[in-house]
Symmetry: C2
């Protein structure tokens, strides 16, 4: 007995050093359950047909980018001038889909640590932190504008989580650095404090170029020309507009052979129809056109269809997140993406809550479950999202990454074989006898169930004796502990110096701009 006990203790201690549910760790998830398909073919075809009608009869407006207009005109688009710099282009039904045939259904984004390289498309699922909040929030200091220190902290927290696969992009806005320079510090932070893949700048074409250039320093120019090592996350200006800042950036990434994501932000009733079928038709039209532009610039460039659906509180006009209609919309967008044979960025851990409380996780789960069930491949906003994306929350980040871990177990699906069917385990002792000590239990107890790092699964009495602490308070302690234990992944010193030199030269060449 004592030998058995100490053996078990040794296994336990080894396991503790690996972290909980270590057997589930992967550089990215290969989804083992089918996606959840809620619409029939006829309905999907009607949505697609409406998207084609939007493109053919209403058209898409392009602003301040003659080269994009030239490319689409050359490909057969019908250009109408709204002004010197604003053109509407109409696309014959099927034209955009034809252009998209050169886009890869699945591609690889390389990380500087090859063990962290991800694949995007098909059955792959990649989790990345939330993106774009001007504010950050924690329980100690409340809500405040984000700084580069916050940004670095979140890159470190993301790198420390085994349940994220990608470092993301603008995790929060580092508002203490000039608008025209902060992209340099953000890209540097992703490279320096993480060894995962990441997103570059999209706020100006020259910032996109800087982001790619820093990757050339990191990976070598030849490698970058042949491989995807960075992506840009671009927004259309719904309804039905792509502005020049976005299309110039899209062209920059595509020309360099790098990836891009094409995301309409569809607030129903404001910039899209309130009804989800119509919002999806518009979503498809806008996102397909962004994706198609990449193929005109460089056929075969990696490109990701994307969806970000919200609902609206008709009382206040505020967007609401984590509600049921967008959850259904995410599922259908997955079906549409598969029919188009393109990778999909789907929803994330969305919420309108202002605290990492019950509301936050209720809404987050409705949104995130739908995101992974949709078959979405790249899940930006997987962790930290609070207050309708206005705030990046330290505590919610920890709660969400724990959910990302649980989703590793969920997406692993159910194995059905003689071992898991466990007939012998029940037959061993027969009716009425517990299974604590049976061979089947002993061989499976370490890996049968997801083991949360953050949830309190203790009996009430133990929990009460330990202070009766709620989840957001535990998350508060956990992010501090995680930051304190963080160690940076190794980075070649010459590369680091070259990057810092590039940044210094770039910064010296510009006056600070704050808007």
């Amino acid at each position: 007995m004592s030998g058995k006990r100490s053996g078990r203790k040794a296994r336990k201690s080894q396991r503790a050093s690996e972290g909980r549910s270590a057997h589930l760790r992967v550089p990215f998830i290969s989804r083992k359950i089918p996606p959840y398909e809620i619409l029939d073919d006829e309905s999907l075809t009607r949505i697609e047909t409406t998207a084609e009608r939007i493109l053919a009869e209403i058209g898409i407006e392009f602003r301040d980018d003659p080269e994009t207009v030239r490319l689409f005109a050359q490909a057969g688009g019908q250009v109408t001038a709204k002004s010197d710099t604003i053109k509407i282009i109409r696309f014959e039904p099927g034209m955009i889909r034809e252009i998209l045939k050169t886009a890869p259904a699945r591609f690889t984004q390389h990380a500087r640590n090859p063990a962290n390289t991800v694949e995007i498309g098909g059955d792959s699922v990649v989790f990345a932190p939330s993106y774009g909040s001007p504010f950050v929030m924690d329980l100690d200091r409340g809500r405040r504008y984000g700084t580069i220190e916050d940004f670095n902290n979140f890159v470190k927290l993301a790198q420390s989580s085994p349940w994220l696969h990608h470092s993301g992009g603008t995790i929060c806005e580092p508002t203490d650095i000039a608008v025209n320079k902060r992209h340099l510090d953000m890209v540097y932070a992703h490279i320096r404090y993480s060894d995962r893949a990441f997103l570059g700048s999209i706020t100006a074409p020259e910032r996109a170029e800087d982001s790619i250039e820093m990757c050339r320093i990191l990976f070598g120019a030849d490698f970058v020309d042949e491989n995807c090592v960075i992506m840009g996350n671009f927004n259309s200006t719904s309804p039905l507009v792509w502005d020049g800042i976005s299309t110039r950036g899209i062209r920059a990434y595509a020309a360099a052979g790098q990836g891009s994501i094409h995301l309409p932000f569809l607030l129903g009733g404001a910039v899209a129809p309130l009804t989800m079928a119509g919002a999806l038709a518009q979503n498809l039209a806008e996102s397909m056109v962004g994706c198609a532009l990449t193929q005109l610039v460089r056929p075969g460039a990696p490109t990701i269809l994307a969806t970000f659906l919200t609902s609206m509180s008709m009382r206040s006009g505020s967007p609401t997140f984590g509600t049921p209609e967008p959850a259904l919309g995410s599922l259908v967008m997955g079906q549409l993406a598969r029919r188009l044979n393109l990778p999909l960025r789907s929803a994330g851990s969305f919420t309108t809550s202002k605290l990492p409380d019950a509301q936050a996780m209720q809404q987050s789960m409705m949104s995130m479950m739908s995101a992974v069930q949709s078959g979405g491949n790249y899940q930006l906003h997987s962790a930290g999202y609070l207050d309708g994306l206005l705030s990046m929350s330290y505590e919610k980040f920890m709660l969400d990454t724990d959910v990302c871990g649980a989703l590793h177990a969920y997406l692993a699906g159910m194995q059905v074989n003689d071992d898991t069917l466990a007939f012998d385990a029940l037959a061993e002792n027969g009716p009425g006898e517990h299974l604590f000590g049976c061979a089947h239990t002993l061989s499976h107890y370490q890996s049968a169930y997801w083991d949360s790092e953050l949830n309190d699964d203790q009996p009430w009495e133990t929990w009460d004796e330990q202070g009766g602490i709620d989840a957001m308070t535990r998350a508060n302690a956990r992010w501090k502990e995680t930051l304190a234990n963080y160690t940076a992944p190794p980075l070649d010193e010459a590369t680091d110096e070259a990057l810092r030199d590039f940044i210094a030269r770039k910064k010296a060449s510009m006056q600070d701009a704050w808007h």
Copy 2:
């Protein structure tokens, strides 16, 4: 403009009096999205075949109920005596499925208010409160043993929610009333304070009889003989045991033509295999046998297959709820129930959290989303569940019923037609123009999106000015407000008197028993 405005105001005010999302209210949900099917036919067949092997080779143990043994022996079961009172019965493959062919795939449970009558089976979804907690909990008084006052409160809160459809059963244990008498007060509370369908007692056969007798007083004996008006929720004693208390109760409900639910409580590693495929085979075997007993007593009696899967923290041996493996198990159990053509009771708003916090709703959502996606028909534990079912929480009840409302919108699915595709709404103004005032927005703004009663969707500034209140604190205010506004549904005075008379006579006939 002013005419339009006042018209809008009138609609708004009418709507406020009806409550939010009033257009979604139904006596029970008819699910409009397909269930989520994650296993292929071959895997499902392997689980079914294993269940049949369990029944044929290991068998089910029956304790202290010779009549049940006689019924199964008569139907072809092979009886082995373990003792005078304990028998093991083995069933040839296919035998139990054959017996189940007389069970209805869908049936009606009548409520005393016919408008609240529910259907169970097929595409129907019925939400009921949590069931069986010894403790209750609220933010003011913490955790304590439940009393009949708590019980009555929860019946009133359930009746007040438009998003539950059924009054449930032992919402919490009224521990201030003797064990052998409390069923009378519980059934009375369901009748008096609710006008929805409900569950009766199962803790002793005579208590089951009392519950049915009270329904005869309420509905009339002839009506009760011809219609299902009450159900019992029975537990097997896993692994592979049905004890006499349960089987006698099952026989009582079936003989009276009333409904019954057949639920194994499968704590993996303790009373079931740790691996979900094996747990499901066992679940199917145990639940099918309970259901089959009803058909031997009275062919055609309403019966519900049921599943309650948990995981276990291997560190503490505690059960854990709202984890990913049981979520997958629920989905597969839905597939198995449909192949068997029986209604299903699936998971609910499960959690191991000790507070109605972020953990509680995160786990609840994983569990409850899977329950409704499974195609489950009767969702006990839809509201109030806390601390692994040890506590019924006032605040969680309010949070959960709000989720039940959101699930009405989710299960309504997505309509795809010319109106919802909204091509004209986008064409009306063209690219770059918002849709706030367009005809499509005006005709859909009241019903396009689920409108939560409890979530705070206001801008951060407004929320902060109002005190920055978290969801559990809002829920605390809400249950008090709801109880204060509760009015009992009308009940015929003579019926009420007859019920109270029955209870008084029954109570006078027994000494109090406290265990």
